[in-house]
């Protein structure tokens, strides 16, 4: 029971999560300005000894702003620490980390950084992560309990809701269900994130859970996608943000399964903030896609000390709040201030978080390669 509880988040935990999200929004009310970054710890990291760290951060969409601020601030207060930022995607970087471990397990490619739930679970199954020390990262206490991983192999800091994006200027009746991906009114106008690029499995899982299945009962969902592909339901599979953004904006695609946060940030980028993008949270629930901090095995004790101190800085309420505000991410740290625009967004509401689908990622990851091949054969092969 305990084991299962650690790997999957129960309904009760979800309700608790919703409560925290509510508190989060409450604390962030009245348009509180984004606070300055939290000051780094008073004692020098790694006992003042010289240490070089490589930190993995995500690329694009404002993801690099806060990491650069944290790096500058941390290096200023800890002149003995040098942080090199390694920008990339989980899908590309994680295999490189595995390859480097084969070359030399004591010289990891990355010492610490941000990883999504897919990489987090891969790393758990693969023994990639070190156990985080709550003594060295006291701000872990502020993270919502269901975002603590078993053995502290990672610590959650936020999540994105994976739902349905659509062109609000062309779609008068928004999609309401995962099954709307197969609705005749959207025939030939649906785009899906390609499976191998790290997103398509969210669509499959969303459809599975919406139709009484789950990560262990996925067949019906694959059959639905396969039939729809053969019937010409899908315009294309996309692998980059620009592909789906461009297709939705021009009306070539009307609906796409994707991260809801992009509809928010893309609209903000449009002139007057009036872009054509909107998102719908399926009535069966959005898929909660969670993000973690991890430290990689093979790092030296000094690197672990310094990385822990940096993670602690990130987990401070002002820092994580700034990150979430810039990237439209739902924080997993309690008491974080969000800007009013985000507070109004449906995806940030406690009810949406409560109702979110939290797939069994461990099962999903064990099946990942097999499901990807099935996707290639049964969905892509029939388009």
């Amino acid at each position: 029971m305990t084991k299962r509880r650690h790997h999957r988040i129960t309904r009760r935990e979800l309700l608790h999560q919703g409560g925290v999200a509510g508190a989060t929004l409450g604390l962030g009310a009245l348009g509180a300005a984004v606070a300055d970054l939290a000051p780094a710890a008073a004692a020098p990291a790694a006992g003042g000894r010289k240490v070089a760290l490589t930190e993995f951060i995500w690329i694009g969409g404002g993801q690099g702003i806060v990491p650069r601020e944290v790096k500058a601030s941390f290096e200023k207060t800890n002149p003995n620490v040098q942080i090199e930022l390694y920008e990339g995607t989980n899908a590309i970087t994680y295999p490189k980390m595995v390859a480097q471990r084969q070359v030399d397990p004591n010289k990891p490619l990355i010492n610490f950084g941000f990883f999504n739930v897919d990489a987090q679970t891969k790393g758990e199954l693969d023994g990639m992560w070190l156990n985080l020390d709550p003594q060295k990262i006291p701000n872990m206490a502020g993270v919502y309990p269901s975002y603590h991983r078993p053995g502290n192999t990672g610590i959650g800091w936020g999540l994105s809701g994976y739902g349905l994006l659509y062109n609000k200027k062309l779609v008068k009746e928004p999609p309401v269900s995962w099954n709307d991906l197969f609705a005749p009114r959207f025939k030939g106008k649906v785009m899906l994130f390609d499976y191998g690029s790290g997103g398509g499995f969210n669509d499959v899982l969303g459809v599975a859970y919406a139709n009484g299945g789950d990560a262990k009962r996925i067949d019906a969902a694959f059959e639905k996608f396969s039939k729809a592909a053969q019937d010409g339901q899908f315009l294309a599979l996309f692998t980059t943000n620009e592909q789906v953004k461009d297709s939705l904006a021009r009306g070539e695609a009307l609906v796409a399964g994707y991260f809801t946060s992009f509809a928010i940030t893309w609209n903000q980028e449009s002139p007057n903030g009036d872009g054509p993008f909107a998102y719908a949270i399926p009535k069966e629930g959005m898929v909660a896609y969670t993000y973690y901090f991890n430290i990689i095995k093979g790092s030296t004790p000094d690197q672990i000390d310094a990385a822990s101190a940096v993670i602690n800085t990130y987990l401070s309420k002002p820092t994580i709040g700034r990150y979430c505000n810039l990237t439209a991410t739902i924080p997993a740290v309690s008491g974080v201030s969000l800007k009013p625009e985000l507070q109004r967004e449906p995806v940030f509401q406690p009810s949406a978080v409560k109702a979110a689908i939290l797939p069994d990622w461990t099962t999903a990851n064990r099946q990942n390669a097999a499901w990807r091949q099935r996707w290639d054969r049964d969905v892509k092969g029939k388009m």
Binding site: Q243, R250, N368, R372, K380, G381, M383
Partner: protein, 297 residues
């Protein structure tokens, strides 16, 4: 005065030493890198994948999986068709282009032609692919023109399909086709055509009896280069294929991401074998063709 190494045995030895000295380091370096990489690839292809991890146990199951699943045969077939179509179009478009450039007399126009032909290489493949996204879309430039000219009644699908990928590949690979042909055509002695004309050959006869056979080495090199690059294309099928164009480089990338490295290694091995077999086959064909031409003389 030019050196005459081959005139005496000493000269031949000197030439041989000079060639070894010039070619040796690069050959040894490239061969070593290639061999080491191939060995790692072959060893990885034989390993066992548990679903989450690669285990260093020799099972060869990835080969069994690849060669018994008809899905992969379909992918290989689609890839060969795409590469052959792209190469054929590039040759049909590239040869007249190269020939025309050799006929331009004004240096300014020659430079302009070079810039035009080689401009695709001045931008990154990703930028080019995004450009094609705009041009080939249903509401894009091509469909707009087709509709305005009443050539189609409704926008046609050019994007997220093999058509768009082929068009974009031709665009990016055309310089690689033109250049080898152009370099051979420029080396052709104009006196040969003049002699043919003096002996009463028409321009067309002069082209088909002199220029065309002499340009074969460039034509073969262009075909080989274009085919190999088309077989290895990743960005264009990825961004413009929309999932409908499945080729081995895409599968290799996906399997690496999934940590299914044995299957990725098998796919890479198959791709290498396909490319090498094509190169070898075309070289044999080329030699036979040359021998036929020699016989005719």
């Amino acid at each position: 005065m030019s050196p005459t190494y081959a005139a005496t045995p000493r000269g031949a030895r000197g030439r041989s030493l000079a060639l070894t000295g010039l070619l040796g380091p690069a050959t040894v370096f490239l061969a070593a890198v290639l061999l080491v990489a191939l060995c790692i690839l072959l060893v990885n292809s034989a390993y066992h994948f548990t679903g989450t991890q690669v285990q260093p146990t020799l099972t060869f199951e990835a080969y069994r999986h690849f060669f018994t699943d008809p899905f992969y045969a379909g992918v290989v077939w689609q890839e060969i068709r795409l590469a052959v179509t792209t190469t054929a179009i590039c040759l049909v478009v590239g040869y007249p282009t190269a020939y025309a450039i050799t006929k331009i007399r004004r240096p300014g126009w020659v430079i302009a032609a070079y810039i035009l032909i080689f401009s695709p290489l001045l931008t990154s493949s990703i930028v080019r692919a995004y450009g094609w996204l705009v041009v080939l879309a249903r509401g894009g430039l091509v469909n707009w023109a087709l509709l305005r000219l009443h050539l189609v009644a409704a926008p046609v699908r050019l994007l997220f399909d093999v058509t768009g990928v082929t068009v974009a590949l031709v665009h990016v690979l055309l310089p690689f086709t033109v250049f080898p042909i152009l370099s051979v055509l420029l080396r052709t002695d104009p006196a040969l055509r003049e002699a043919a004309a003096d002996l009463g050959a028409t321009r067309l006869q002069g082209f088909f009896r002199i220029t065309w056979p002499l340009s074969f080495p460039g034509l073969y090199a262009a075909a080989q280069l274009t085919f190999v690059l088309a077989m290895n294309a990743y960005v264009t099928p990825q961004l413009l294929g929309g999932g409908r164009v499945q080729v081995l480089p895409l599968l290799i990338y996906e399997n690496i991401s999934d940590l299914d490295w044995p299957l990725a290694a098998v796919e890479a091995t198959v791709l290498i074998v396909l490319v090498w077999a094509t190169m070898l086959g075309s070289n044999l064909l080329f030699r036979r063709r040359l021998a036929t031409l020699e016989d005719r003389r």
